[in-house]
Symmetry: C2
Subunit: 144 residues, 2 copies
DNA sequence: GTCATAATATTGATATATCAAATAATGATT
DNA sequence: AATCATTATTTGATATATCAATATTATGAC
């Protein structure tokens, strides 16, 4: 019977993250049009830690190197990021947010905070702490 | 500060499901070669509930209709599923597992159970129950 | 300083996610 | 029976995930 409990646990885990992502994307699209949550996540990370390499960004947002390359391409094409030569390492680019990128993040932020509050409404702090602990343990167990 | 806790919660939620999926896919690929976890999930669902329409399968495994179409295509191409005419509804196909498909599921099952045990090692039943409750609440909150 | 190796990023191929549009068949209405 | 709305599925377009291969630059051993 533990097996069944385990199965339903991973089912609800998948379902919860997908539900959240769908809700988040829907509300963002409604307010801001053609931008994805992943693109915003990468943009925010580049603003917060401008010194990171693309590979470090990938690790930070838990994405693949190749995905980061493509997401950055889209952000440049959309005018939220600017590529220029890197001063000391010619393998890299210097990537800086444009003023449009900065503005976008400022405007989107309240929506993101709201989405998290909506998703966690009615969840007690202690429950959340336990859930966090369980999830962290899963990460640990799966990374060995 | 609640904001920060919320942010890290969704971070660890993303990270845990990705860690689990990566571990699961890696072990499956090592043992069984070119088959994805998603393909196995759909195949198992069709075995367990053969009467379901593709749309009902999509709901059951929490995937898009279009994804189900493409996953089924791959399963047919790989010889695990057989398409034939549906007896009463010509919009649909009758989809049945081949003996290769049946065999595959039987062989894969222990590995799937093992993966779940690995991922949940050291997690107490009560903690898991609370985590499940939190995740279910998130699903509820995001589906309104 | 040269060379092997490592680091950084890109590209290609395939699978999946999502939305919208298209096809085709069914069921209900008149 | 012809029409119309609904249902079931597929297809197209774009974004992301993953793995493998490639290109370019940097660095360390010698």
């Amino acid at each position: 019977m533990t097996e069944k409990l385990n199965a339903t646990f991973f089912y609800i885990l998948e379902k919860s993250i997908k539900s959240y992502r769908q809700m988040a994307q829907r509300t963002i699209s409604d307010e801001f049009g053609s931008i994805t949550v992943d693109q915003l996540l990468v943009l925010q990370t580049m603003k917060d830690q401008p010194e990171l390499t693309q590979q470090q960004i990938a690790v930070a947002v838990f994405k693949d190197f190749a995905s980061i390359t493509r997401i950055i391409d889209l952000l440049v094409r959309k005018g939220y990021l600017k590529r220029s030569d890197h001063p000391t390492d010619r393998r890299r680019f210097a990537l800086t947010l444009t003023s449009e990128g900065e503005d976008l993040l400022i405007q989107v932020r309240p929506r993101i905070l709201k989405n998290r509050r909506i998703a966690l409404e009615g969840v007690e702090e202690e429950e959340m702490a336990i859930a966090r602990k369980v999830l962290a343990r899963i990460v640990e167990n799966c990374s060995k």
